[in-house]
Symmetry: C2
Subunit: 106 residues, 2 copies
């Protein structure tokens, strides 16, 4: 793996890492239903407002969501709906491994 490849994987990992947290996954899925402001999202999650704000900042830094300030609120929305395709794939992974454990295949 050369330097250029390494940089590519760094960048890829940065975006995927932004998704790699339960709360942030929830935020992504919730935002896929429409824009929400920080307090609305905070009401759905067991965490401090500042924590939610920081999670949103992580998603924003990865260009997964964007926020628009209207009045004193910031409305976030999903910028890259394609990330939702992760959910289906990952749920396949989970089902498959559960099936494997139960059925003792292999």
């Amino acid at each position: 793996m050369n330097a250029k490849d390494h940089a590519r994987y760094e960048t890829l990992a940065h975006v995927i890492k932004a998704m790699a947290h339960p709360t942030r996954l929830f935020l992504v899925e919730e935002l896929s239903r429409g824009e929400r402001c920080v307090l609305e999202l905070t009401g759905m999650v067991r965490a401090d407002v500042s924590t939610v704000s920081k999670h949103l900042a992580v998603l924003k830094a990865a260009a997964i969501v964007e926020g628009e300030k209207r009045g004193s609120n910031v409305y976030y929305r999903l910028k890259m709906p394609c990330v939702l395709s992760f959910f289906g794939c990952v749920e396949n992974v989970i089902e498959a491994s559960a099936r494997e454990r139960l059925g003792l295949v292999e």
Copy 2:
């Protein structure tokens, strides 16, 4: 978000977190081309064998890859090729944000 949902997001995050590392992304992509043993993979990466072995263990725990022991080697292969779809999506995200920064759109 109730307890059941929370558990679901925990599980999803566990799998995605397994992908959220440059080296592990490389391993996934490399294994998509066919099975490889640990030393082969180590030769392609700037890291210790033990480090690569641990990365593979992470991917295996997430049911993304599987390993088969043949002789004294363990050959790993990609179990869930659907995760490759992450790459395309994530590269879109990256391109879009690059374009945005350059073109100052928005």
